[in-house]
Symmetry: C2
């Protein structure tokens, strides 16, 4: 990264901070986690799974959405390794697969509730 001295106001501070910035790949991964939780309906699904596993059908009732919409969102959460599933006959049960995500949620919940 080259720093244009003509434009830059405080070259020293810029250099200091540049050193502390994580690499782009890490930033992208962090953003991905936040993005997974950034949609209210997707977040609600995760909240619904916080205490116990549920099948798609039940999640749809809890979240007041169609089975299809829930299934689409669960696929995203599954891809992100935020939820996992297990089959029991016709029914597929989803549950949280990532403890860090649980911590993030509790922290943001505290924030919202002061």
């Amino acid at each position: 990264m080259d720093i244009c001295a003509e434009k830059c106001i405080n070259e020293k501070k810029v250099r200091e901070t540049v050193k502390t910035i994580p690499q782009q790949e890490d930033i992208s991964q962090m953003a991905d986690i936040f993005k997974a939780l950034s949609d209210p309906s997707r977040l609600k699904i995760v909240l619904a799974l916080l205490n116990q596993e549920h099948c798609v059908c039940d999640i749809a009732v809890i979240c007041d959405q169609t089975d299809s919409a829930i299934s689409h969102q669960l696929r995203i959460l599954r891809t992100m390794k935020i939820v996992k599933n297990r089959r029991e006959g016709k029914i597929i049960y989803y549950s949280i697969d990532d403890d860090h995500v649980i911590s993030l949620i509790h922290m943001s919940l505290n924030h919202v509730r002061h």
Copy 2:
């Protein structure tokens, strides 16, 4: 919320979980925080401000983006009360305004780095 007994697989579990779900307003606010951090370029700005304040111009250099793009993103972060600013002559310095956000970032950074 009424639960259709014909369709619902496990009415008891649904009722249990419905009780634990935060109210919609809280869910929206949680999602908003995550959304603010869900864009890589916006997250990078926050990361740049994690250790010290910077002017728009410097952030643009650090993040390798135009001043305008940075300014637009800073407005979003300001609206969300994630960053604050102070004027010193022509220059406006931005810094983090929310400790919870700092915690969220450290936690997600830990997650990414295992």
